[in-house]
Each structure stands twice: as structure tokens, then as C-alpha cells.
């Protein structure tokens, strides 16, 4: 095999790696009813793919971009009122509970008290039946120092866009860890993805 072809195949493989098949995300989108209004709370940064995907539904899309506030959040969550700090960082709920909450890989970047505070605030924003989707590093020992971006390509795959090549140790939260840090939520399903992350779906 020529070196050029080898490089091309390598590049194709990386491109494939960046596209994540996400069955639980698919199942979540499948549950949205065309005829009903939904409120989607996206904790990640704005992505054109997310807007395009949910524009198919009658919905309001709230974009929180918490990753942008992560350093401030982490400083603030040392205070006992960290839940109030999280509340201030989320868009106003407009007196309409969220049906779906998209965490992407944000939970990996929170320690246990921070995650507990965030999830408690999210529980307040939800209602019985609210679904929370999250991606958690499972098998890898390291992860990028900043959360990745995940752009839905369609309703069953995400384009992973790494924001940083630098890595840091991954907390590798177990389902039991997550259960303790997500008061009020029940783990509905978990699946191991091809890239070593675990996909979680929680229900309020």
C-alpha cells in the first residue's frame, strides 16, 4: 500500500471516529411528538446541527452553554449556594418545564458536589418524565481539558468536534457514582459507545 493511500485511510478512519453513533440520543428524539410542544434545554454550546434537528418539532430550544462558564462555575460552586449559582447560569425557565435536557459531556468536567448541585437545579427545571441525556468517559483514562462540541448530524449520530488536544485525567464516573449525584433522577438506560464513552439516559 502506498504511503499516500495509507495516510488517506488513516484520515478516513479519524473522520469515522469523529462521527458517533448514539442510540440513546436517537431513542430520545424518537420520543418527541410532532404535535406536542417541547422545551429542550441544551447545556452545551450553540450548534447549527442542534438547531436544525429540533426545528423539526414544535419546541423552544434553550441554550445554556455552561462550558463557557465552567471556570466561573467551578469557583462559585465552592460556595454553599452553588445551586443558586447554577440557577443563575441557566436561561430563565419561563415557567415552562424542560422535557429534554442535553448534557453532552459536561458531567465529566464537574466534581461530585458540583454535579449534585447542577442536577438538583435541573430537577427543579424539569417535570416527571423529563429525560436527561449525557455522555460520560468510561474506558479512557484521559479526556480533553475542555468539553468537546457535539453536533447532531441526524437524529442518531453526532459529529464530535474536539476543542482541545490537551488532555487531563478523566473521572470515569460509574453508574453508581452518577446515581448518587443525580438526586431525583432514575437511570433509564446506559450504553457503551464505540469511542469508549458511555451514553446515559436519565428520567426524572
Amino acid at each position: 500500500m502506498s504511503q499516500g493511500l495509507s495516510r488517506q485511510l488513516d484520515s478516513d478512519r479519524h473522520a469515522d471516529d469523529a462521527l458517533l453513533n448514539v442510540p440513546l440520543f436517537h431513542s430520545l428524539v424518537e420520543r418527541l411528538d410532532d404535535d406536542e410542544r417541547h422545551v429542550i434545554l441544551d447545556l452545551g454550546p450553540p450548534q447549527s446541527g442542534t438547531v436544525a434537528l429540533f426545528s423539526r418539532f414544535r419546541c423552544r430550544l434553550d441554550i445554556a452553554d455552561l462550558a463557557a462558564d465552567l471556570p466561573a462555575m467551578q469557583a462559585a460552586s465552592e460556595a454553599p449556594s452553588s445551586r443558586a449559582v447554577f440557577a443563575a447560569m441557566l436561561p430563565p425557565d419561563q415557567q415552562e418545564p424542560a422535557d429534554v435536557i442535553l448534557c453532552w459531556d459536561l458531567l465529566n468536567y464537574l466534581d461530585r458536589p458540583e454535579m449534585t448541585a447542577l442536577m438538583a437545579e435541573l430537577a427543579k427545571r424539569g417535570k416527571p418524565g423529563t429525560l436527561v441525556h449525557a455522555l460520560v468517559v468510561y474506558s479512557a483514562r484521559t479526556m480533553p481539558v475542555q468539553p468537546n462540541r457535539y453536533a447532531p448530524v441526524d437524529d442518531h449520530s453526532l459529529q464530535l468536534i474536539a476543542k482541545s488536544q490537551e488532555t487531563q485525567p478523566a473521572p470515569r464516573y460509574s453508574p453508581e457514582d452518577l446515581g448518587l449525584c443525580t438526586p431525583g433522577f432514575k437511570l433509564e438506560r446506559a450504553m457503551l459507545l464505540r469511542n469508549g464513552m458511555q451514553e446515559f439516559l436519565f428520567r426524572l
Binding site: 410532532d34 404535535d35 406536542e36 410542544r37 454550546p45 450553540p46 450548534q47 447549527s48 446541527g49 438547531v51 436544525a52 429540533f54 426545528s55 423539526r56 418539532f57 414544535r58 419546541c59 423552544r60 430550544l61 434553550d62 441554550i63 445554556a64 452553554d65 463557557a68 436561561p91 419561563q94 453536533a151
Partner: protein, 189 residues
């Protein structure tokens, strides 16, 4: 204060009307597809306005505006250097710069990759380019849009109810579901 420029914030213009706006006479810009080239008033980079801005012509903001901006039948472009701390209501809104406030576009709101926006967007067509910073809500429910945009024609339905039929309006998407023409366009940066 306001200068007449030949900047056309028309559909499909992916370039900001940026830089040197105070000189106002840039010939850059693309024709407006509906009505041909249109001149736009320009608030130059050195201009600060506190108060309400209203008008009946297209406007490009390269300076700073605090208060409200109402161009009900016209287009507003916030240039790369523009800073708007105001609620905005226009026919079309293009943002390349910084906005803190709610954006209502009766036809379209376009948040470009250099934009930083904190506020809520209400419009039947929303495009948000990758790379843009945005924090807030995007209302994409036709029934809620109708209520918010004051288009309660025919048998008006509540924002929380289904919008299956009963409107003849062509823009803004009136039928619920995947086939409706409500658009939130995807543009990759």
C-alpha cells in the same frame, strides 16, 4: 450621526458590514433578492446611542446602542464591531457583533459565526452559524411564534396548543410536525 451607506444586509450576505462604518460609503454588499439593492443607514463605530431607535429604513450598527431598536418593516445588521444592549424588533436581523437583549425578527434572524448574543430569539426563520456564542432561548413553535409576533389570524391558538390547521399564513410555518416550513437553517461555519 447616521450616514447613508450602500451596505445591503440582504439575504445570503455572509459578510459583515464591518470596519470603517463611520465612513459609510462602502460599496461592498450584496443585492437584496426581493427588492434589489437597498441603501442602509449606518450608525458609525464612534457613535453611542442611549435611547430608542426607530425607523423606516434598513440600518447597520457599528457603534453602540442601548435602549430599544424598532425597524418593524426593515432590516437591522449589527456589524462585527457593533454593540447593542437593547431589545430588537425588525423584519430581518443579522448579527455579526455583540447583542445583549431579545431579538424579534418577523421574517428572519441570522446569528453569524463572529456574533456574541445573550438573549432570546423569536422568529420563523433562525440561522445560527457554528462558532457563534449564544446564550438564551430560540422559539421554534409556530403557535408560540404567532402569539409572540402578534399574528393571531384566523382561529388563533394558544401558545401551548397544537397548531395543526386553521391558518392561511404562508410564512412562519403554520402546520405542526416535520413537514412544516418553519426553518431553523443550519449553516456550518
Amino acid at each position: 450621526m447616521f450616514e447613508r451607506g450602500k451596505k445591503q444586509p440582504g439575504d445570503g450576505d455572509s459578510q459583515s458590514a464591518a470596519g470603517g462604518a463611520a465612513s459609510g460609503a462602502s460599496s461592498r454588499g450584496t443585492p437584496n433578492r426581493r427588492s434589489g439593492p437597498r441603501e442602509a443607514a449606518v450608525i458609525g463605530a464612534s457613535i453611542h446611542i442611549d435611547g430608542d431607535v426607530r425607523g423606516e429604513e434598513d440600518l447597520v450598527i457599528e457603534g453602540e446602542v442601548s435602549g430599544t431598536v424598532k425597524l418593524i418593516n426593515n432590516s437591522l445588521t449589527v456589524g462585527r464591531e457593533g454593540k447593542v444592549n437593547a431589545d430588537v424588533h425588525a423584519q430581518t436581523v443579522f448579527v455579526d457583533g455583540n447583542v445583549e437583549g431579545d431579538l424579534v425578527g418577523s421574517e428572519r434572524v441570522c446569528i453569524r459565526e463572529t456574533a456574541q448574543v445573550r438573549g432570546n430569539i423569536t422568529s420563523p426563520r433562525v440561522s445560527l452559524e457554528d462558532g457563534a456564542r449564544f446564550k438564551g432561548s430560540i422559539e421554534m413553535d409556530p403557535a408560540a411564534l404567532d402569539a409572540l409576533l402578534g399574528r393571531q389570524k384566523n382561529a388563533a391558538k394558544p401558545a401551548s396548543g397544537p397548531a395543526k390547521s386553521g391558518s392561511t399564513q404562508s410564512s412562519g410555518g403554520q402546520s405542526a410536525g416535520k413537514s412544516r416550513d418553519l426553518l431553523a437553517e443550519a449553516k456550518t461555519g
